[in-house]
């Protein structure tokens, strides 16, 4: 516990670094915490919950033991509450990009330059990292990074630009409203005249259109034209207008997220069809000190269920303990009856009284 500490702003040292804050990564914090093991988590999403929070926050799950029904978001919220006593440190909005061996364990570095040194690495990367969907528009590659973007890093980048925003959800609407004052012109392109976003944003967008401050095109994007990475126009198609083009020098596309294995492919783990093979005793990879739990792992009989991931987290923690506290003896205890565990959870009788 004493090796937990923050050094430089972006340098951290901890017991375990968990890649992925989906339900399984979250529950791992609990199982590790009961054994006095501290954890940091890295996730490219800006919030916890993985698939449950990103793909189906409102949909019901019926096969979590003892919870007859719980939505993806509720499950996430409950896990966050359950792990609170262990004070996990989250590094959101960051991609775990590299994994290196160090004298004492492992070093994980993110795309934002965060460095985490830990004795143990737990890969709980699920179906892969969530990254923006890249539209299937011919020739789009040539403009990526120069004129076509899937996220806004710096708003100033769009000042004075003729901007096209594609999509019909909250991201598309929010950025439309934020960038409209900066852009030389702004056109929102969506496939239908119906938006799934906060009603207030939709109203504001429609008002800007009515005032002639921006344009709305109900159309499909069929192509891009320009030269040397500079965009000149976006080709559109609609039932009413047929094929037409609008001048543009930047495009932002918001079609939601998709899961991609990402950098884990380069971690030197012998992948089996994009999954990380593990044993079923400790859920450890062929490299000692690196574990894989949840949807990302593979073993005979694997079921991609939250329930299986929870079990895997418990067994992983037993072995992680041996790496973090080689001198200590592992003691098996129930949360129901162990005052030691109850103290860790902040529910010990003398405390609660």
């Amino acid at each position: 516990m004493d090796n937990q500490g923050i050094m430089a702003e972006n340098q951290h040292k901890t017991d375990v670094v968990i890649i992925g804050a989906g339900p399984v990564g979250l529950f791992a914090v609990f199982e590790l915490g009961l054994l006095d093991i501290k954890a940091h988590l890295v996730d490219i999403l800006d919030r916890p919950g993985g698939q449950c929070a990103e793909l189906y926050p409102e949909k019901p799950i019926y096969d979590i033991p003892a919870l007859p029904v719980v939505t993806g978001q509720e499950l996430t919220d409950r896990l966050m509450e359950q792990i609170k006593p262990f004070n996990p440190v989250f590094h959101f909005g960051q991609m775990a990009e590299s994994l290196e061996k160090t004298a004492e364990g492992w070093r994980v570095t993110t795309d934002l330059g965060t460095v985490i040194d830990a004795k143990v690495v737990v890969i709980a990367a699920g179906g892969g990292s969530f990254v923006p969907k890249k539209p299937a528009i011919p020739g789009i590659d040539a403009y990526e990074g120069s004129a076509v973007f899937y996220a806004v890093r710096k708003m100033e980048q769009f000042r004075g630009k003729h901007l096209v925003i594609a999509g019909g959800g909250d991201s598309a609407l929010d950025w439309t409203l934020n960038l409209q004052p900066l852009a030389a012109s702004l056109t929102l392109v969506h496939r239908r005249d119906d938006f799934r976003a906060a009603p207030d944003s939709i109203n504001k967008m429609r008002a800007l259109v009515a005032d002639g401050k921006m344009k709305l095109e109900i159309a499909a994007i069929t192509g891009l034209s320009g030269a040397d990475g500079a965009l000149h126009a976006v080709a559109l198609q609609s039932k009413e207008k047929g094929d037409y083009t609008i001048p543009a020098d930047c495009m932002l596309a918001f079609y939601g997220l998709t899961m991609k294995l990402g950098p884990i492919a380069n971690f030197g783990l012998n992948l089996h069809e994009n999954l990380v093979p593990v044993d079923t005793e400790k859920f450890e990879t062929a490299t000692s000190g690196i574990f894989a739990i949840g949807d990302i792992n593979h073993y005979p009989g694997k079921l991609k269920l939250i329930l299986s991931g929870f079990h895997e987290a418990a067994l992983m923690a037993q072995q992680a303990f041996r790496y973090v506290y080689p001198e200590r003896k592992l003691r098996f205890q129930y949360t129901t009856s162990s005052s030691d565990l109850q103290t860790k959870l902040g529910v010990a009788q003398n405390e609660a009284a």
Binding site: Q51, L55, Y56, K59, G127, K133, K134, P135, A136, I137, G167, G168, G169, H190, R191, R192, R196, A220, Y255, G256, T258, M259
Partner: protein, 107 residues
């Protein structure tokens, strides 16, 4: 159970006739036969990575699109009049011979 046929035009334009079981989602049949759809959400109408076009003569014969599906199509690519999410079409005897065209999936 009677085996049905699903006709599929792949991205490269090749035509295939595959066996299908009644009660299965078209997505599941496509996935089991290795067609290039990701079907990331496993058929829950949450990902739009199982996008297909239904051949024009079948459009009126498949079950109509629900609101969820229409909204989810906003995250699909190259959406057309005959776009559908293949997890939202369930094979039935009435759909024996259904023809779908695989749509370009996002990377």
């Amino acid at each position: 159970m009677k085996t049905l046929t699903l006709n599929v035009t792949n991205l490269d334009g090749t035509d295939h006739a595959v066996e299908a079981l009644a009660g299965w989602q078209v997505m599941e049949i496509l996935r089991d036969h290795g067609f290039p759809i990701k079907a990331e959400c496993g058929g829950a109408c949450c990902c739009a990575t199982c996008h297909v076009y239904v051949a024009p003569d079948w459009v009126d014969r498949v079950n109509p699109m629900g609101e969820d599906e229409e909204v989810m199509l906003d995250s699909a690519m190259d959406v057309r009049e005959n776009s559908r999410l293949s997890c939202q079409i369930v094979m039935t005897e009435a759909l024996d011979g259904l023809h779908v065209i695989i749509a370009p999936n996002p990377e």
